[in-house]
């Protein structure tokens, strides 16, 4: 008999695929006990020691499993956790509170650990602030033992599950064990939020922004994630389960079919060639790039070199990373974007003043030009690496020509310095800019004379054109990549470049969006750079499209008045292409 508890939630399909399994709810609200007295002090001490022992056993188990599966380096975090269980100032202080103040174990644990968490969270050093999370994690684990409830954290997952959370932080996503996490659903988030981007790069099915209801899914409840439609089915019926198992099998089969396009060039039905490249944000992403048949890297974000540490990376360290990427790509083009920090990405150790509108503030190339030493270090590292592959350098967030000229001046100076020092530098490095500010798109015909290429960054271009903060859910309806305003700006950029014989790429989310790709192909975009996982589906799509036909259609859509009508038009035309 079917159960009657089934219900559905809808959210944003952030990373495609299906996941079928039991929910694992990540408890993010720490348990706060009421102040309580121990009824029997000896018994309370015994309870506390048992909870610490239990925590130790769990941690040792997780540590050895992590070490076996992911290596000693990943297991190190659990070593640190185990050490906390031995820490005299933590453990003895709790015991003291129970023994001498008669507090119950929960309250003593809460009081002592909160003191350390507060002390560490207020340090002006990111690494130390992260240690606060370790204390929170370990004391949460002991607290769960005291209360006799299972402890929930990303790192303690060791059976297959669909993860349910309010949101996932970068460190949560870094710790996800993909052997077990079949997919995830979050209460908040948008297509461009951190967790969504990470999910696509990890190729794990994900639905974000499913609302508070999602947070109420209990651990152990069977769920189905349809991350193509953005639907979560909670406690599905037997029929639904078998239907979705079939859909999942079909989807997996289609993915196997796509693998056949791995080494093929990207040609439209009428023989027009474009380049499909990948966006990457760390060296670890390289494997995915190579596995997914990318024809190059259209965007290498260099922020990872600067984040999660306590001081700026030096020239040698940067050089080694750039060289490694260029060598791994074996002569394929690699567009490296200079530091794009600011906005939602901060570097605590630089102690930059707080700004009331960080997205409109001193970020990206603006910051680099105001701190030329930092910028020069990166440029030198890039030049030194340039002889190891096909490097292209790109400046983010150019608003006006003067910024570009100043960046190029510093570039030229560093190049000449290196040559004078006798260092080998490639002579064929192309230099381009991102077009992500409407002012740059509108002046593309002037900027083009100073560059070798443009790359359109649609996430920011849409944010700035629509004046809608991409992190703000209340205005997320304005994220409209196919709105005529956006399409007109894109066409202006492509036409300006074409006049001067320069190439144009796109490295925003839009480049891998099946509703936008046909229009962009029609407009004459040369390079599409996207998450590695989108490359093969996009290659399959382009193979079915006629460039000539879409050149006409893309003119037609510019006369339409809304994002929806344009998407509708594309859907209808691509469907008829299929039949």
């Amino acid at each position: 008999m079917d159960k009657i508890t089934t219900y559905r939630l809808s959210g944003i399909a952030a990373s495609p695929g299906f996941a079928i399994g039991k929910a694992y709810r990540l408890q993010q609200e720490p348990y706060v006990p009421a102040e309580g007295k121990a009824a029997d002090i000896q018994n309370e001490l015994e309870r506390f020691r048992r909870a610490v022992d239990l925590a130790r056993q769990e941690l040792e188990k997780i540590r050895s499993m992590t070490e076996a599966r992911m290596g000693a380096a990943k297991a190190e975090i659990f070593e640190a956790h185990l050490m906390l269980l031995e820490d005299p100032d933590l453990i003895d202080a709790i015991i003291d509170k129970i023994e001498n103040e008669g507090a119950n174990a929960e309250f003593a644990l809460y009081e002592v650990s909160s003191g350390f968490i507060e002390a560490l969270s207020s340090m002006d050093n990111e690494l130390l602030r992260e240690r606060a999370a370790d204390v929170r994690d370990v004391s949460g684990r002991i607290m769960s033992g005291l209360r006799g409830v299972p402890y929930a954290s990303v790192s303690s997952i060791h059976e297959p599950c669909v993860l349910v959370a309010e949101d996932l932080t970068p460190s949560d996503t870094a710790q996800l064990n993909l052997d077990y996490v079949l997919g995830f659903v979050t209460e908040i988030g948008s297509r461009t939020s951190h967790s969504a981007i990470m999910a696509r790069s990890l190729e794990v099915p994900a639905i974000v922004g499913a609302g508070q209801e999602a947070g109420r899914i209990e651990t152990g409840t069977p769920v189905i994630l349809d991350a193509l439609e953005g639907t979560v089915i909670v406690d599905p019926t037997a029929e639904e389960l078998s239907m979705y198992q079939a859909r999942k099998a079909e989807y997996d089969e289609r993915r196997r079919e796509l693998r056949k396009l791995l080494d093929e060039p990207t040609l439209s039905q009428d023989g027009h060639r474009v380049e499909l490249a990948a966006n990457i944000g760390s060296v670890e992403d390289l494997q995915k790039v190579l596995e997914n048949g990318a024809e190059g890297i259209g965007l290498l974000r260099t922020e990872f070199l600067y984040m999660g540490r306590s001081s700026l990376p030096g020239e040698e360290e940067q050089f080694q990373v750039y060289k490694h990427v260029l060598e791994r790509m074996n002569g394929k083009p690699v567009v490296i974007r200079t530091l794009d920090i600011g906005g939602d990405k901060e570097l605590p150790y630089m102690k930059l003043p707080e700004e009331s509108n960080p997205f409109l503030g001193l970020r990206a190339v603006r910051l680099c030009l105001s701190k030329p030493d930092l910028f020069r270090t990166q440029l030198r590292a890039l030049f030194r690496a340039s002889v190891y592959g096909n490097l292209k350098i790109m400046f983010p967030m150019i608003a006006v020509r003067e910024e570009l000229l100043e960046a190029k001046r510093l570039l030229q100076e560093e190049k000449e310095k290196l040559i004078r020092e006798g260092t080998q530098v490639s002579d064929s490095i192309e230099v381009g800019i991102m077009i992500e500010i409407p002012a740059a798109a509108l002046a593309a015909d002037q900027l083009v004379k100073e560059v070798d290429f443009f790359s359109i960054g649609t996430n920011d271009l849409i944010q700035y054109t629509m004046a809608a903060d991409r992190m703000n859910e209340n205005v997320s309806y304005l994220y409209q990549p196919c709105h005529p305003s956006i399409l007109r700006l894109i066409r202006m950029v492509i036409q300006a470049a074409e006049k001067e014989g320069k190439w144009v790429g796109m490295c925003g989310e839009m480049a891998g969006d099946e509703n936008a790709v046909p229009i962009l192909l029609g407009m004459g975009l040369h390079e599409f750079s996207m998450s590695a996982g989108s490359i093969l589906p996009t290659r399959a799509l382009i193979k079915r499209l006629s460039r000539r036909e879409w050149a006409d259609y893309s003119e037609q859509v510019l006369a339409m008045s809304s994002n929806d009508s344009i998407v509708q038009f594309v859907k209808q035309k691509t469907r008829s292409d299929l039949t």
């Binding site: 070593e79 640190a80 050490m83 906390l84 820490d87 005299p88 100032d89 933590l90 350390f116 002390a119 560490l120 340090m123 002006d124 050093n125 690494l127 130390l128 240690r131 204390v135 540490r309 306590s310 001081s311």
Partner: protein, 87 residues
């Protein structure tokens, strides 16, 4: 009781790894180990308390040991305070 002041040379200060080594070594000595920075004094056998000192490169840190084997403790632990750790 004996004490000495050191300048920390490790580029990223005294974070997870150096602290771990220091605390583990301190734990092998029977004497009391205290570390002081800027008027704050903590138990050198507790990694948590050590972290709350927020020791950075070039910080002046005073090591104070009291009890059995204090001479050896001072020389070994002092060595760790000035050691450069491979990151």
């Amino acid at each position: 009781m004996i004490s000495q002041t050191y300048t920390v040379l490790n580029p990223s200060g005294f974070h997870a790894r150096p602290t771990k080594e220091f605390v583990q070594t301190a734990g092998t000595f029977p004497c009391k180990v205290s570390v002081m920075k800027g008027g704050k004094k903590v138990n050198g056998k507790s990694s948590l308390s050590m972290l709350t000192l927020g020791i950075q490169k070039n910080d002046e840190v005073t090591l104070e040991v009291d009890g059995e084997q204090e001479e050896q403790a001072l020389s070994q632990l002092g060595g760790l305070l000035t050691k450069i750790f491979e990151e």
